[in-house]
Amino acid sequence: MARVTVPLADPYLLPMAALLTAIGVTEIYRLGPAGNAFRQGLWIVIGVGVFAATLFSLHSDYRALERYKYVFGVTALVLLFLPRLPVIGEPINGARLWIHVGSLQFQPGELGKIALIVFLAAYLRERREVLAQGRLKDWGPLLVIWGAAMLLLFVTNDLGSALLYYGIFLAMLYVATARISFVAAALGLFLVGSFAVAQGTPHVRERVTNWLSPWSTHPVFCPQNGQMMLRQNCQSYQEVQSLYSLGHGGFGGTGLGHGIFTGTTGKQVIPDLNTDFIYSALAQELGLIGVSALLLLYMAFVLRGFRIALAATDGFSKLLAAGLSFGFAFQTFVIVGGITRVIPLTGITLPFVSYGGSSVVANFLLVAGLMLISHRANRQEAGA
């Protein structure tokens, strides 16, 4: 499919995506139950289908998307808002991220991310000259859509995505305007904002506490059951167990299938092990060497993405490729950094590896986008 539609596209993206997906399915299968791996396989088939359909429908000129930028902007908002609707939305782990249609679960925020990147690329391409001059009125629609996205994310308690969206917004603004002062100002705003949010929202304050001191030597109040408990047995239980998992893996790892993920009762020790915490499962079984290779793979993927952005000849393609690559890199950083206690932990999927249909589909869309852009850039290079 890819050979027919985009023969000149970057040849490394798809193999890397395939390898990451394969590692993911293997680990999901190993963690069980068996139905999960089957469902993930089904989603991969759907993801590849979406990938092929995207290549097929857009290979002549994907830049037509630029004309529908507000459609993408609104789509991003609608996708973010869907889980708030009463019938199909349902809170899982305190965050409303999912929609249910029949027995299907879907996390629309993942696709919203792609839609937002397309919108930002088109909008910034059109306005970057005036934005660089810093006139306030040209910022209107941009700030409205971004502000609404941030507000929705705080309302849905999905901090990981809020962080991701903010990062993508900042990075693309920087790519478009080349003004480091914007980034500095926005980072300042972020620090002030996150401090205020940490004071006001118990959900966020808890995350920061868990990050700075996951272990407590004396019992603290546990909101889950209202009793006094050690923090590692209550709020930071998940983080601490995940750290033990990393530690148990050590340098070389236990080997695939030999990791210990269940307690003496046979119950899985780390909640969400196959989605947000799949990195700690992999770190235990593959060890430091194994996950270093995994991280190198992610870096190579991002490297290819930014090379595509550099090689692209028009502003929209450059911005789109840079946005997609940065989003991918930052998402990996947020979850891996969270698990390894570099930054406060926020639940988000590890691209291609984590269990979850929407994540798989969104990431295959992302690869399709990068391949379309690189095909166009290489074709122009060959034609010139």
């Binding site: 080349a178 194994g290 290779a293 502003g315």
Partner: protein
């Protein structure tokens, strides 16, 4: 016997584990090596297309790798033939009036402000400034703005200028 069998299994598993890791690293190595052996440097064109916008964005003049472009007088009622007029990132105007960057004072067919040439990301572009007699590139009248390539002959009034790059 059971002990022997289990050690063998453990050894096989260890070997498989190492093989898996080696393959993983070989894959990464392969990708990174080929990525480093790119056949061309990425395009360094500024995303900001016009020099004016680049200056407004505080980016300064364009990329230093840009080719030097100049106009060479081929035929003119006023200018010396073979005279050179270099182009840089600042837009240049051509015309009969003294306020122009290239003054064609003796050319009766040139308008006071006749045409403008500016360097964009991909090279020099000429734009006709509603002149009476028009601006021509290789004999064809310029409508709006047009890209100039090396060797193009630009006619303003009775003056012919050749675009040269090096």
């Amino acid at each position: 016997m059971v002990l022997v069998a289990s050690t063998t299994v453990a050894e096989v598993l260890l070997a498989l584990k190492i093989a898996f890791l080696v393959l993983l690293y070989l894959f990464v190595l392969r990708v990174i090596r080929s990525a480093g052996r790119e056949r061309r440097a990425p395009s360094q064109d500024s995303m900001i297309l016009t020099p004016a916008a680049a200056a407004a964005a505080g980016l300064g003049p364009g990329s230093p790798r840009r080719k030097a472009v100049r106009l060479v007088v081929q035929r003119s009622p006023s200018l010396d033939e073979g005279g050179e007029f270099p182009l840089n990132s600042a837009p240049k105007t051509l015309g009969r009036g003294g306020q122009n960057d290239l003054v064609l004072s003796g050319d009766e067919f040139a308008s006071a402000r006749h045409a403008r040439i500016e360097m964009r990301g991909d090279g020099p572009w000429v734009q006709d400034l509603d002149s009476t007699n028009g601006t021509y590139v290789n004999g064809a009248r310029v409508v709006g703005a047009q890209r100039l390539g090396a060797g193009d002959v630009l006619r303003v009034g009775e003056t012919d200028l050749v675009v040269e790059e090096d």
